[in-house]
Symmetry: D2
Subunit: 390 residues, 4 copies
């Protein structure tokens, strides 16, 4: 392809802009995955991940897309025909429940408008009604990548506890981990699912399961067929820094580097930075007069912002202009939001001036594409940031 | 870790020495996996793979270890409780059949001595006896990575055909693809399984299924639970250069580069090179007086050579000396060969002088570790190579 | 050093942001500089450079900083005690003439205010007065990196021609080459000096001399002591793609890649892009109410913009805030402009959104540092760009 | 160029095989050379170099080929017409003295046979005869890269001291630094010259001057024209970690990494490794029946070995075969040795198995090219190494 000058702005909500330190770490000779040098690498990664998931328990790393970690969570804990509960918060929870169906589970989906997180009251109500404890797991997406809406996980936990229901709580943090505060242990999550290519700043190709005690217990009784995703062999090998089959060594080099970077910055600073850049993006959206998908301000995502296009304008045409004229990729509308919503990723290895470029690209894109808007969105964002920094 | 001078010799039978061109290709910014630029990448990879598998049919790429591609082959074509036939040719076929059991299949394993490939006569006999066509698939490893023994796949095919049996032929080419001649279409294979980290010269993290017509048909009737590995969505998305979930983009950059390198060299030259370097290795082994695991010269692998240690000497201690003193990783004995056999990988991005260094490291390792041997193995290999080149 | 999230904005007027393609090209094994493979590399570079200098004559590549190419231009063409004429347009011409003094030349410096380019009328007048043709060369900086002021080289040439004076015309294009239109042959320049780390998008370490016929002739009579910089051996070796001493091979890999990128984009497009981004920067400056160093709009640089700080505010403190809070490097005031002027580099591998980030960082920096300014500079720039693009 | 499988063996005596750690360090964004981050880089490099030169005094780093550092040593210390003394030990001292002539110095060259180092007795005799102290400097090459012959520098120093002569001792260590023990301070050297692309394991593009007290004093009186090479500005800027003009930042990244690697291995271990690999190479040469250029065993280089071809065989044809058939670059015969001598580089980031590959390539090259030799040279080398290691 012909050269396009300057850096591409990859502002989809993941994969995110991979920092050079991570790319350079990956660009290293592969080593023997049964050597003591590898064992050191494995242990570093597995230990560092605990800090990011805020757990003392094990975190498993798969050589797979994050979609694989969804499957792993289900097949390791459930039995054929088990019922799982889900809340229709957006496109990705739909994919996940479709997967559950594919795997022979029964899904009870509580309808939703794609503009709110999971309603914890509804969780409690549904579980109270499930007197026979047929529901074996609740599948929640912490941060819906299709809508930019988050769910209050501690509230969901309280809902489950209020119902005194034994269902496992499974949480997808694919687009929130290492961007939005998330606490596996403190929040009482049983299985946390995540991936490498968003807040973790890696290319896609690794996925994670953080596993709580109750999930481990469930895995001993689970009868769904599984082999690649089996936790037991993973945990056994991981204890020595190894894996039951050939791991994606070079991506692990990158993971070790990314974990070091997160530690250098400090997780609290990482979360604060994402909050600041997200609020600046929302300042821009408000100024432009664009409606966010998220209706409840407390549920707005700090990782991405999804905005409705004005009536009569297609996000696909708009994003094509932005890519063509300004060398920036924005996220498309997914599922029923296709054509109507575009998404701005502001997560991962991202800072104030990259955001300024991002918002400028959107605002100029509006002008070039003839999308009605109030000018000054980028300016409003800068004003907010400058005040925060000062 | 402290610096060790010079290059590490990674002479395990995979992962292999990843060439700089591939590493540098991977070391590039991740792009939007829904963009037209990505579509071009996807199509290049999918097309290039057909040439390597020597097939006109589809090749599927998973973001997973090769172990995942084993699972994909089984869950896409079979039904719970189906019987599969396998031949005990070594450690990896055992792992694969263990996986089949994990997934709820019944395995009929024909015992073997780990020193021969699959006996095609036995295939025919077994299938003839299976009058009810209970056996739904035959699992064969083209090149047993644990033993350095290959199987004559066309002969196996003839055995099946002679029995007029409808079982699917599934072949693992993890350590033979792009090293030893392999022809998916011509040889009538139904599913070919492979991975990225051996002859394909990539880091681990990608795996492959080449799919024949009969396998595609079987996949329509297969009821084993599956989601991540489903061929149908893959094939549908692949037709446009895309994937149903986030692919391992950066490894695909590497795949495109590796495919270009294989094309530049020419597959026939790649195979001839592997044959030459393998025969040179066997010259060395004969001179040293070391016994190969492979008993039939026609079945010796051109990708690796597995050698028995002299009685009373442990391969683990020997390999530790070689790693410590000569900065070279050799392959361990696996399964029942642990302690008794070491393996020399001579596949992938490898040439005459790298082999010379490898054999020198082994021969010097014998001396330093006090392993009885006849000197001159490396010299015998060089003599053979020089004659071949001249 | 601890991790700072996101990309650093390197907006000094060089070294510029080196594109990944160039960095990755450099990150390759060094080869034998006497091999035919190297010869191909050398020829590619030398040929490609002619296009960029817009010359049919030779371009010499030194393994040195651009400062070395200044020295090369002088020592190859002049004799001890020769008089050279220069115009005080800024800091760098002062450094260059200081070098001339160091090398035993006599410098006639026409005073200037650092806010205008060379006055071509003055060139003509001075040369007319030099009846004895004592002046052997005129040293002109095409784009003064310290001030953002350009000189009209064709006008200077006309001035010399009007005076019918044989002095050589030497032009420094260190910060204009491949950013601002420059034509060695058409404009009648005798020696053009440049470097790798600005418009050429490379790290520092290579420098260039484009050589006209009259300079070549002068070099045959030049008696200044020289060895490393001698053109004769360079030209002789270059004809075969080689160099008289070990060249900086890996930087040449980068040069070949950068030349390919310039060709892909097209020089005319490169110049138009720089013009657009520069004018956008000036829009911002005007809105902020900041005074440019350049007084004549026709002489404003398209590579950088130098702005006076408001009275009572030190650029050093301001730039420190911008670096600390916004991870961006701006150029300092040099020489007599220290403390009073800061410089914005907008050259090289640079695009609209990077400029948006740059200007946002400056505007937010004003706010955070309490520098008086009118808001909306970044917005004015975006407006200009959107209009240009639309 | 079409892909050649496996690694190229770059066994010329420099540039050497650049380790991946160094290449990856260079492959990093360029930073502001006036920033505090850069200052840290500069100080790290300048400090680390002192350890490698074994000096407490300053070491200067030029963005130039090593040839530039030759020039720097001369122009900083000498005056026009000064006499310098040199000993004809090989091709490179000839180039250096030619440079001295180019720069207006008078050279007294003591003839030599290119097969011995400098005769210290001759040094003393010559200087004693120079009663008027016309000789201002003695130019010695520590390790002649064209011949593989070293000079005993302490003996030369004793020769000068015995003559009570004030001439400066200048030593070229381009191909010995960080490979063969060298002690700037202890050995009383006044200026040491070196470069980046050999024992320092970097690509070419940096050069060095280590400067003793007497040289610093001389530099204050030196009147040779100079500007780029001036020590004074360098030393002044270096004290703050900076440089008087734009440095080759990315190569300095590599330098810092290379210095770290040398420190991790330990200089004494580095020298011992080179000694071991060099002696192994000489074992091979003796077995082959090839004559070394070095006639005195005490003067054999540990960095390279230069061997005469058998009568009637041209090294150029031989090296072409080795490159074509075995993907290895060997060093050519230089100057009057062209056609008759080939050189084996065994320095830098090099280890036992790389040497094994190198010697195997030579021995197989002999066979393929029909060069008469006794077999078993590579084997003899391996035997020696194994004994040393055991």
């Amino acid at each position: 392809m012909a050269h396009r000058p300057g850096r591409h702005f990859l502002q989809i909500p993941g994969p995110t802009n991979v920092p050079d330190r991570v790319l350079r770490a990956i660009d290293r000779s592969t080593i023997d995955h049964r050597s003591s040098e590898f064992s050191g690498l494995g242990k570093d990664c597995l230990k560092g991940l605990k800090a990011v998931f805020q757990t003392d328990g094990p975190v498993i790393v798969y050589p797979s897309s994050a979609t694989g970690a969804w499957e792993a969570a289900l097949v390791n804990t459930l039995n054929a025909g088990d019922k799982v509960l889900a809340f229709e918060t957006g496109y990705f929870v739909n994919l996940w429940t479709q997967m559950a169906c594919n795997l022979g589970l029964r899904v009870e989906m509580i309808p939703g408008d794609w503009r709110h997180g999971v309603d914890a009251t509804k969780v409690a109500e549904t579980l109270v009604e499930d007197r026979g404890h047929e529901i074996k797991a609740i599948m929640v997406v912490h941060n819906e990548t299709s809508t930019g809406v988050t769910t209050d996980i501690p509230a969901v936990r309280r809902g489950i506890d209020a119902a005194e229901h034994p269902a496992l709580l499974m949480v997808d943090t694919v687009s929130s981990l290492a961007s939005i505060d998330y606490r596996h242990d403190e929040w009482g999550v049983d299985v946390t699912i995540s991936g490498s290519q968003k807040g973790m700043m890696l290319p896609p190709g690794l996925s994670f399961n953080a596993i709580g005690h109750r999930a481990t217990e469930a895995s001993k009784r689970s009868s769904l067929p599984k082999s690649y995703w089996r936790w037991a062999e993973m945990l056994e090998n991981n204890s020595r820094g190894f894996f039951p089959y050939t791991p994606a060594t070079n991506l692990l080099y990158g993971l070790r580097e990314a974990l070091a970077m997160l530690q250098e910055e400090g997780l609290a600073n990482v979360f604060a930075r994402h909050a600041r850049l997200a609020e600046a993006t929302r300042c821009a959206a408000r100024q432009w007069g664009f409606e966010m998908v998220a209706l409840d301000p407390r549920e707005c995502s700090n990782a991405l912002t999804a905005l409705f296009m004005p009536e009569g304008f297609d996000e696909r045409a708009f994003r094509a202009v932005v890519l063509d004229k300004f060398n920036m990729s924005l996220g498309s509308g997914l599922g029923k939001l296709a054509g109507r919503v575009f998404r701005i990723g502001h997560l991962g290895d991202f800072n104030e001036l990259m955001l300024a470029g991002t918002l400028a690209g959107i605002e100029m894109g509006f002008q070039v594409a003839g999308i009605p808007h109030c000018r000054g969105g980028a300016g409003a964002a800068l004003k907010y940031i400058a005040e925060q920094i000062a």
